[in-house]
Symmetry: C2
């Protein structure tokens, strides 16, 4: 059948039809991602960018994944290309449950797992399922900016609790809980943006504060497998609190391009609602990619693959902190992460890292100013630095130039 | 590094922590998909199921897609596995714009296109960007049930407008517009669930009624390329109205497993907000699959591939309508679709197809009762039948048994 070409009519005036009148309150209150805007500015090949959040391509097992694709087509055929179940592939859900059980001595089963389109989608689903306008949500201060974005759509009240070297400021946490909140959102390992990790004692204190509260306890853990120093610590909630939710992802361990995340929870009433929200959001996650990831995990030892990534990130993190110790002027402090992809520098109060950004860009070095990582708007003297996407030489050189920019501003 | 196994603590009582108190009003008002529940009941291999909505596997060019995967890995490498732009691959967006321009004489460009995680995600994004609690949204009566689900999360007021053989009941449409609505959601070609297609005159009438209104006009067109009779007709809105949005998908033409949908709109203010909502929902759509689809479309003639699908569906639709003419008792009417995957049968008033469902299942034949396709709850005497997933013999035999069940109920 040939398709005829029909000249479409075109409307004339648009001035009479303002879209503003049609937009929801939620979207009007939701900021576009500042990082994504910055990444454009930092994409000039002459710029040493510590602004990104990209895993190193060493983490993508490209050829192994291609082999898995061939096996999936030959072993599963049409099933891998057809519509599929909202919850995700049973085999992949079981693999994830087993992995957590092995690592943490938990008793998760496949039915405790929901496969999502990146772990970003978990944030979207949690916002939908829990938050009405004005509801309280507790977040770390600072926190992951795309979580602020996902929750903001529902116009909640953000209750920020100061992040410390060990975890949370417990007095602030109790005050936030007393003020009321449906959900607390935490990133206990190598936090984005700070690189901080809750200590065993810090976790215990937070768990204790939450134990007699009716609240959904969300722990976002995209980097948990990327610990390059120290020992893994148990979650705060997980199976230890009634509404514990753990978020995970294959983005930092296999590939972010597949958008493959997941959540684990023993709260099946909550899970059922998250499943309904998932169904309405995109029916199910790319099932071909689910088959490919499962095949890859079945035919390869993930732990062997992770060693490569951890070794690289350990070296890169050390290159950055060593250079900071050498070049950064007095009065600037920074974190020393035990894993993950980021660290956090704090300048003397009163120095706006947002103002510093353009000056750094003139010297061909980029970072993310602290501002977008706080639910409360305001000028900040902090910055996030990513260490996973440059070699040691480039890191050293970039930090040196950044140090000069900072020194001039002091 | 070895991961130690730490015995997790487990909570004791849950009774004191009711999740109901924490759930949002939105999710409490959102029904889980009735069809997905039904599909389980109909998955018994002995059941002839007309309840599904699955494209025929003939539409999946598995081997060609596998070849594309090999090319993508060798030509693009890490880029195809890394994080990517929210809007989608520029090349794929340009391909889509050109396809529409060729078919409809429009002037879309790549920047008018947003790639989404299935076209279901477009519904999710539109709901977020436009609907606050109590806002009006106009839908066809009946309409696509997952659109009701996606919009319901925002607690809008659904204004249903009767679908006719030619399009919409214009008096009802004007009344709905007068009552107020931010969006009208239409499926002009081989509608799901009815299989009806708006005539050229029907489209003109609807366009005229909408022309002086400030409203987002959404046309969902997943089956547009699957016309097996008659000629393509221009969209109602598209480029012809200021806030026209066209929704499309590769689910019915290449593969649903990849969850690859898109929207086109010339309204860049609206598009910018949809982009922000997309960013917060899942950052971007699976970029490896975007590369694969683009490579496939570049190396193959989609029109040649579509001929196969259309020929099969034409035969299957004819088998179903022929059998219905032969076996269905008097008083039952049904649509004769010019494309797509579904047709719609209407029984005499007062007969509940929901009550009929269990009786049909006893005779090993399944359909979807009309009830979930209406925004307004109530018992219906209509049913949706899918014709794309059984051979002619099976269709004929299944319709015969269904006719017997109906005859007994009359």
């Amino acid at each position: 059948m040939t398709q005829e070409t029909i000249a479409a009519e075109t409307f004339e005036a648009t001035g009479d039809f303002p879209i503003d009148e049609l937009l929801s309150d939620g979207i009007t209150n939701t900021p576009p991602s500042f990082v994504r805007a910055i990444l454009k500015a930092a994409s000039d090949p002459n710029v040493t960018s510590f602004a990104g959040g990209l895993p190193n391509p060493i983490s993508f097992p490209q050829e192994d994944l291609l082999e898995s694709m061939q096996r999936v087509v030959s072993e599963h055929g049409a099933e891998a290309f057809q519509y599929s179940a909202t919850a995700g592939l049973a085999g992949l859900r079981a693999w994830i449950a087993n992995r957590y059980n092995k690592r943490f001595g938990t008793d998760y089963v496949a039915d405790d797992v929901l496969i999502t389109t990146g772990s970003q989608q978990v944030l979207d689903l949690l916002g939908k399922v829990l938050l009405d306008k004005g509801d309280g949500v507790i977040v770390e201060k600072p926190t992951y900016l795309a979580a602020i974005q996902a929750f903001a759509l529902h116009q909640p009240v953000f209750r920020e609790v100061e992040l410390t070297e060990d975890g949370l400021n417990i007095d602030e946490l109790n005050a936030a809980l007393d003020a009321g909140a449906k959900m607390i959102y935490l990133i206990p390992n190598f936090q984005n943006p700070t690189g901080l990790t809750y200590s065993a004692e810090g976790r215990r204190q937070v768990r204790e504060a939450l134990a007699d509260r009716n609240i959904v306890v969300v722990e976002d853990d995209p980097y948990g497998e990327l610990r390059f120093e120290g020992e893994s610590l148990p979650y705060i909630g997980g199976t230890a609190l009634p509404h514990g939710v753990i978020m995970g992802s294959f983005s930092k361990t296999v590939t972010p391009g597949f958008r493959m995340g997941y959540l684990l929870t023993k709260d099946h009433e909550l899970l059922k609602k998250l499943n309904t929200a998932k169904e309405a959001a995109d029916l199910h996650t790319n099932v071909f990619s689910q088959f490919v990831i499962l095949d890859y995990l079945t035919h390869h030892d993930l732990d062997e693959h992770l060693v490569k990534i951890r070794d690289l990130y350990r070296t890169q993190a050390a290159a950055m902190t060593d250079a900071m110790e050498e070049y950064f002027p007095e009065g600037v402090s920074f974190t020393k992460p035990e894993g993950g992809m980021f660290l956090w520098a704090t300048l003397p109060e009163g120095i706006s890292t947002m103002d510093l950004f353009d000056k750094a860009l003139e010297r061909n070095v980029a970072f993310v100013p602290g501002d977008p990582f706080y639910a409360e708007p305001g000028k900040r003297s902090t910055m996030r630095l990513n260490f996973t996407n440059a070699d040691e030489e480039t890191i050293r050189d970039g930090i040196k130039r950044l140090a000069e920019v900072i020194a001039e501003a002091l």
